[in-house]
């Protein structure tokens, strides 16, 4: 009988209940909220659902699936020897390792730790970009290169939010380092992989909250953008019909990815992993000679990586990182970034409307925030509201895909300054 109770007690001690804290409870409830958003509201469910499940798994104690300590260089217990030649003698000096120890991760890590290596080593986001590149038609952008300007303007939200996050510091209610401020600001790029890429390099402790904020707002683009677009434009501007785009030849479509890669990678080398791989995917598609590779990149490969990325990013949302005021500020600042980005795009669209002699519909400016193709659809919908025979979709796709390049370049710039 005694043996039985002992066994029972040890079973209870090793169960999750023994180590369960109220923070775990709150995080698990939060993951339920994300489940609701993913399943019922269908907010970017392909990513939100894995994120929510990763969050659930990581907050059940003692599972050992994800071990935050392994990813914190400060907890690295090892001392590295350093050999100093001193005349005939060699002195050995031990210094504490302050870098991340991947050997330790491989040795002690759980399943999600292993998968998280792909985020930490910057593998997943570029592979997602490969698939995006292989699915994107840059034709509307090539036909109307001026769209690049709108794609650049919409990145204004990123840098405005960067300033905003730093100003919040001044009030004393938040304390964001420069790296954290840049990671939050990139939410304004409205591009999930880019946000994850930058954050995993600059502020990995915020990865969970930034990914959740970025994907939620991307899903909310049809709610966030229209009021701003309507407020900043007049009825007459919204009703502008744009002429048909010119045909783009295959040669142009093939030259495009090569030229963009060369130019962007030469000027901002740190943007090359994103822009370069995006363009690689696009070249595979446009060349028309690697159909099988394109199929894999846009289907199986991208799906696999999406699962890994979602579930591990969700797993980084442990209570210590997530349950803080910072998360609330991230959510507020992320929204500001989206709004300002949209406004900048529309305002430049207005300017182009005036300069072009009222030929450009300013509504396409808001599509400059990446969020492909949702943002372009919003432009189309708003245009069609004013004039049902107005088809802005293809015109808005130009700024839309330019926004993808723009936000990747912005991430590259932030990375080269702060990385």
């Amino acid at each position: 009988m005694e043996i039985f109770t002992d066994t029972l007690r040890s079973l209870i001690d090793t169960s999750g209940f023994a180590a369960f804290t109220w923070q775990n409870g709150v995080m698990i409830l939060l993951s339920f909220v994300l489940f609701y958003l993913a399943i019922v509201k269908q907010y970017e469910p392909l990513l939100m659902l894995p994120i929510a499940f990763g969050m659930l798994l990581t907050n059940i104690p003692l599972t050992g699936l994800y071990t935050p300590e392994l990813w914190d260089p400060a907890t690295n217990p090892y001392y590295a020897p350093e050999y100093i030649e001193d005349g005939a003698n060699i002195l050995v000096q031990f210094t504490k390792e302050t870098s991340l120890d991947y050997g330790r991760v491989l040795h002690d890590g759980g399943l999600l730790d292993m998968l998280y290596l792909g985020v930490k080593l910057q593998i997943y986001p570029p592979i997602i970009f490969l698939g995006i590149g292989a699915m994107t038609d840059f034709g509307p952008l090539i036909a109307n290169p001026k769209s690049f300007l709108l794609g650049a303007a919409a990145q204004g939200g990123i840098f405005f939010t960067f300033l905003g996050a730093c100003m919040l510091n001044m009030t004393g209610i938040a304390d964001f380092t420069l790296k954290e401020a840049a990671s939050i600001a990139i939410i304004g790029g409205a591009d999930g992989p880019t946000a994850i890429y930058l954050t995993s390099k600059l502020a990995p402790q915020l990865l969970g909250s930034i990914a959740v904020a970025a994907y939620s707002y991307m899903a909310l683009v049809p709610v966030i953008q229209p009021p701003i677009m309507r407020a900043l434009t007049t009825k007459k501007e919204r009703a502008v019909k744009m002429g048909q785009l010119r045909e783009v030849s295959k040669l142009e479509k093939v030259v495009f990815p090569i030229a963009v890669t060369v130019i962007v990678a030469l000027i901002v080398p740190s943007a090359a992993p994103l822009v370069g791989i995006l363009m690689f995917g696009n070249l595979m598609k446009e060349s028309g000679v690697c159909d099988r590779l394109v199929k894999t990149a846009t289907n199986e490969l991208m799906n696999i990586i999406t699962i890994f990325l979602g579930v591990t990013v969700g797993a980084t949302a442990v209570a210590d990182n997530f349950l803080s005021w910072k998360t609330i500020f991230i959510i507020i600042l992320g929204l500001i970034a989206f709004c300002v980005g949209t406004a900048c795009g529309v305002l430049l669209g207005k300017l182009m409307y005036l300069i072009s002699g009222k030929k450009i519909n300013p509504l396409i400016g808001s599509a400059g925030v990446s969020a492909v193709p949702m943002a372009a659809r919003v432009s189309q919908k708003e245009g069609a509201r004013e004039n049902p025979s107005n088809f802005l979709l293809m015109h808005a796709m130009g700024p839309n895909v330019a926004g993808v390049i723009g936000s990747a370049v912005a991430a590259g710039v932030l990375l080269s300054i702060l990385g």
Binding site: L141, I142, A143, P145, K146, F148, L149, G151, A152, Q155, G156, I158, F159, F160, F162, L163, C166, N169, M170, D175, F176, T177, L178, K179, E180, A181, A182, P222, R246, S249, L251, E252, V255, F256, A259, V260, I263, V264, I267, V268, R377, V378, Q380, K381, A384, P388, S389, F391, L393, A402, I405, G406, V409, A410, V413, L414, I417, L418
Partner: protein, 151 residues
């Protein structure tokens, strides 16, 4: 002078980053200038790169337009040659649409006759080409709006 300024500010950014802690960073006298410089360089570099891309693809676009035009001109000549050839054969008179050529747009005539030649592979004679009324029928308009409707 400018370079020195940039170098100095970069050093300041490095130094501030090294402080790691937000409160320490904020106390650095160069904090605000660094923040401003980061935001400003960021947006300027993004605009600069995309402006370079605009220029390059605008250039590419114009080059391709010129190439296209010369190609079209060649195709037109070819089509015309085919047309006269086809007309000369005249084994059978295929009745093609419609009365007199109104616009005098020879290019369009060439293209249409080339298309008919490719399609029929027999001799034919074009008597006239007439424009249809350009308005879209209610059904095709409904179809287009259905297919391009965003939500």
């Amino acid at each position: 002078m400018n370079n020195a300024l940039i170098l100095m500010s970069e050093n300041a950014i490095d130094r501030i980053q090294g402080l790691g802690d937000a409160k320490l960073q904020l106390s650095d006298p160069d904090y605000w200038s660094s923040v401003g410089i980061i935001a400003l360089t960021g947006i300027l570099v993004v605009f600069l790169i995309l402006a370079i891309l605009i220029f390059i693809f605008w250039l590419m676009g114009t080059v391709f337009k010129v190439v296209d035009k010369s190609k079209k001109a060649r195709a037109e000549k070819k089509a015309e040659a085919e047309k006269t050839q086809a007309a000369a054969v005249q084994t059978e008179q295929v009745e093609e649409t419609v009365a007199e050529e109104e616009s005098g747009d020879e290019e369009i005539v060439a293209v249409i006759s080339a298309a008919i030649a490719a399609y029929t592979e027999q001799g034919f004679k074009i008597k006239s080409i007439r424009k249809r009324s350009s308005a879209r029928s209610a059904w095709s308009a409904a179809g287009i709006s259905e297919n391009t409707r965003p939500f």
